[in-house]
């Protein structure tokens, strides 16, 4: 008896020691019952605590205590480590003699469900994920009311112990891919993870590629629609961005808007985005290439204007273009870091003052300004911010190539990008999926968006055992 008692005491001491300098921890004792509660005040919901622990303990007599502990909210823990982890996860530890129980009263402060700022749509649902994992799961469950929606909980990060949920729909998602993803998550070795976009970098196959390999989204409707297409979704605690897999390159160019509008508009928008992609990547580079090497390609009507504005610029086109591209990137970065009210000022200063003044001061030609501006605008057309940032980076490489080797360098750069993309894989599936390996059926929902009546098959990349939709 004494031995056990001391063991209970030991456990309490161990826990107490673990939280030695944590002054935000709360000890609460019920001396008449020989009970001590340990919990973090800010991690627990006051009402739950009151309802599940405090009130019953106040009402109970010492003799009925064992009966109370049989209630389901009291989970018995086996050792100190488990208790500590539970306390960290927002549970209330109840020490009573030899036994330790934990009661879940998790309820930290979190922000409300609001619209996503990075992925706004004009029509469509406006709710987006928050930093709270439970809220996020609730948002998904609310959209996919199916018992087949399975969620697997994993924990990542030696110190942060971040929870990660892998969600998929049983019977639609490919089991092999799910297992592969779980294996990868388990193999992550890191101290901590704070963001979904950060998390996916630990599980992708090509960490040195400039392209994002998992699509992330803050939109619940996007994640839900991908789930029912047979993809696997992952939610990371403390992050509003969820990811889905397997991902292909072209997915980054589709937006939920495409599905909420009429199919012809959806198709037009898709095509617009791919055109924007081409413009972003090549427009400035092509300007540099043409003005440096291939003057004969300029139409006669444009030649005079172009040569005239170029003649005032003291630098070669390459440096001129790099200067302007750099300015635009500076403006963008400054605008992103500043509060939106000041951000607007930056826009005006950058767009009007610098743009106009640079031309008048003879630092750049006005046609270059158009090229740079339109390729910057085009880059923002791409719905995924991460992808658009990658593309903007690649553009610099192409500009340098074009400035040194003209069209030859430009085409070399494009070939290199294609070769690189061909080598990329995501969960073992090709990154370029509906194009290479080709799947004609997937094209209906890649470059164009066909009417729903024709989109009867799930994408081939997910390798679903259940190829037709509505099954």
């Amino acid at each position: 008896m004494n031995f056990f008692r001391s063991s209970g005491k030991n456990r309490f001491n161990e826990v107490q020691k673990a939280f030695e300098k944590c002054e935000d921890i709360v000890y609460r004792t019920f001396p008449q019952l020989d009970i001590t509660l340990i919990y973090f005040d800010h991690l627990v919901e006051k009402l739950d605590l009151d309802r599940d622990v405090i009130r019953p303990l106040n009402q109970v007599t010492k003799n009925d205590l064992q009966g109370l502990f049989k209630q389901s909210q009291f989970e018995r823990t086996q050792n100190a480590a488990e208790t500590i982890e539970s306390i960290l996860n927002g549970k209330v530890a109840v020490f009573h003699g030899d036994d330790t129980y934990v009661v879940n009263a998790y309820g930290p402060a979190s922000r409300a469900v609001v619209e996503s700022e990075t992925e706004s749509v004009i029509t469509g649902p406006h709710d987006a994920f928050t930093e709270n994992l439970n809220t996020n799961l609730a948002l998904i469950r609310r959209r996919v009311k199916s018992s087949k929606l399975k969620t697997i909980k994993l924990s990542v990060g030696e110190i942060t112990k971040t929870s990660v949920y892998i969600c998929y729909i049983e019977g639609i998602a490919n089991d092999g891919l799910v297992q592969e993803l779980i294996k990868r998550v388990k193999n992550i070795e890191t101290d901590g993870i704070f963001e979904g976009n950060m998390f996916v970098q630990f599980i992708d196959e090509h960490p040195h590629s400039v392209f994002p390999q998992f699509i992330t989204s803050e939109r619940t409707d996007v994640i839900a629609s991908k789930l029912i297409a047979g993809k696997i979704a992952g939610l990371v605690e403390g992050s509003p961005s969820a990811f889905t897999a397997p991902t292909n390159f072209f997915e980054f160019f589709s937006s939920p808007d495409d599905y909420y509008q009429r199919w012809m508009l959806g198709t037009a928008l898709r095509l617009l985005r791919f055109i924007a992609f081409i413009i972003t990547i090549t427009f400035t580079a092509f300007y540099v290439s043409v003005t440096t090497f291939h003057y004969e390609m300029i139409p006669q009507a444009l030649l005079l204007n172009l040569a005239e504005s170029r003649s005032k610029v003291p630098f070669p086109p390459l440096y001129e273009a790099l200067l302007m591209e750099l300015t635009i990137e500076l403006l963008r970065e400054a605008g992103a870091r500043l509060p939106s009210k000041i951000g607007q000022t930056i826009g005006i200063v950058g767009g009007i003052v610098i743009g106009q003044a640079a031309v008048q001061a003879g630092l750049t030609s006005n046609i270059l300004i158009i090229a740079v501006a339109s390729s910057a605008i085009a880059s923002f057309v791409i719905p995924s911010y991460i992808m658009s940032a990658s593309i903007r980076l690649i553009r610099f490489g192409l500009i340098v190539l074009a400035g040194n080797f003209g069209n030859w360098g430009l085409m070399f750069g494009i070939a290199l990008i294609v070769i690189h993309l061909c080598g990329l894989t995501n969960l073992g599936t090709s990154y370029l999926t509906p194009v290479a390996p080709m799947n004609a059926n997937d094209w209906k929902d890649t470059f164009v968006r066909f009417p729903f009546s024709l989109l009867v098959k799930r994408p081939s990349q997910v390798k679903t055992p259940n190829k037709r939709r509505m099954k």
Binding site: P207, H294, Y295, I298, L306, L416
Partner: protein, 372 residues
């Protein structure tokens, strides 16, 4: 993948350092020759014939006040001239934006082959350079500034573009000239321009026998000539004829012309060619006594028009035959009606002059405008 990245960094660094600077053609350092002209040049006391090459280079962004720079050089060949020309300017002279190649009439009579050859051979020169014959000295024309018009090179280009659209001169670019020159069954043609006091004018169409200028078609026959040469999509025909001793005049607008060529072989080896032309158009101007809403009168007009056009066409054909220029490409049709050996043994130039070429013209008036 890591390799790609590492390599990319290295490569970018290298690129920034080196690059093919020798081949850089930075826009602002270039002098784009817009037009180039070739003339025969003989010094007074010297029999030796040389080439006078003039080029017009638009000034861009320079503060000389003049819109263009004109360079001239006298040399043996056109490529030599190029070296001489570029010695005279501070810009890098390039010909990738060349639009017009003008040839003096005298030089054209000597043969254009060597110059065409240089133009076609140079990959930086486009296929759509206009070939133009100048009545007089081409260099004088190119040197002259026309105060009311855009810079001369551009002026020539605009003028030709417009006229080609209206079919009053054939659309002759360097590729089609060279093609017709090489093909045995057709002889090349080129527009002729002339300078008057302060304007340029289309003077007609130069007809070549092989690469030599032989004769020309005057501007008023240009549309008939175009109709004889091929199908027409647009054009305007002005016809005067006599009706009951009164001169009447009809203008046929929006002319669409179709050409048919039939080659017949008469038994003794003689060649008989039938050219059938069918013009369709609307009459928007008529000065005369007839009523245009009467079917009979329209039929009469159609008859008058086709008679007139047939006469003119026949005159043109005879003119070409006497000068031994097969500008209509009748040879192609004759060739296509023969066996290879037969064609090979035939001296087409000779046969052409003696060939029996007939032409029949049919005119259909589609409408007569909105006023009865």
């Amino acid at each position: 993948m890591c390799g790609v990245l590492r390599f990319a960094c290295l490569f970018m660094a290298l690129l920034l350092l080196c690059g093919c600077s020798a081949d850089k053609r930075q826009l602002e350092n270039l002098g784009f020759t817009n037009s180039i002209s070739y003339d025969l040049y003989t010094e007074e006391d010297n029999e030796e014939r040389k080439l006078l090459v003039t080029t017009s280079v638009p000034n861009i962004g320079t503060k000389t006040g003049k819109q263009r720079e004109v360079l001239t050089a006298v040399t043996q060949s056109s490529k030599q001239a190029w070296v001489k020309l570029s010695r005279q300017t501070g810009r890098i002279l390039v010909n990738g934006q060349l639009r017009n190649a003008l040839f003096g009439m005298e030089l054209a009579a000597e043969g254009l082959m060597p110059h065409i050859d240089t133009l076609v051979r140079d990959p930086s020169i486009g296929q759509r350079v206009n070939i133009i014959i100048v009545d007089g000295k081409a260099s004088e024309l190119l040197k002259k500034d026309f105060p009311d018009e855009p810079p001369t090179g551009q002026y020539i280009y605009d003028l030709l573009e417009k006229e080609e659209k209206h079919n009053s001169i054939p659309d002759i670019a360097i590729y089609s000239f060279a093609r017709d020159l090489m093909d045995e069954g057709i002889d090349p043609v080129a527009p002729i321009i002339k300078m008057n006091k302060d304007h340029l004018m289309i003077d007609g169409i130069a007809l070549f026998g092989d690469d030599r200028y032989r004769t020309k078609v005057s501007f008023k026959d240009a549309l008939i000539f175009a109709g004889l040469r091929g199908d027409l999509n647009q054009g305007e025909l002005n016809v005067d004829f006599k009706d009951a001793n009164e001169i009447e005049s009809v203008t046929l607008s929006s002319v669409i012309g179709r050409r048919m060529v039939k080659v017949k072989r008469v038994q003794n080896g003689e060649i008989k060619v039938l050219l059938g032309l069918h013009f369709k158009g609307s009459v928007l101007e008529y000065i005369g006594s007839r009523e245009l809403n009467d079917t009979k009168d329209i039929a009469f007009l159609e008859g008058q028009l086709s008679d007139y056009l047939q006469d003119e066409a026949m005159k043109l054909i005879r003119h070409m035959q006497t000068n031994q220029v097969d500008s209509l490409g009748i040879g192609q049709h004759v060739r296509n009606s023969m066996r290879y050996k037969e064609w090979n043994s035939l001296d087409w130039k000779e046969a052409y002059a003696g060939a029996d070429i007939e032409c029949s013209v049919k005119v259909t008036i589609i409408n007569t405008g909105k006023f009865q």
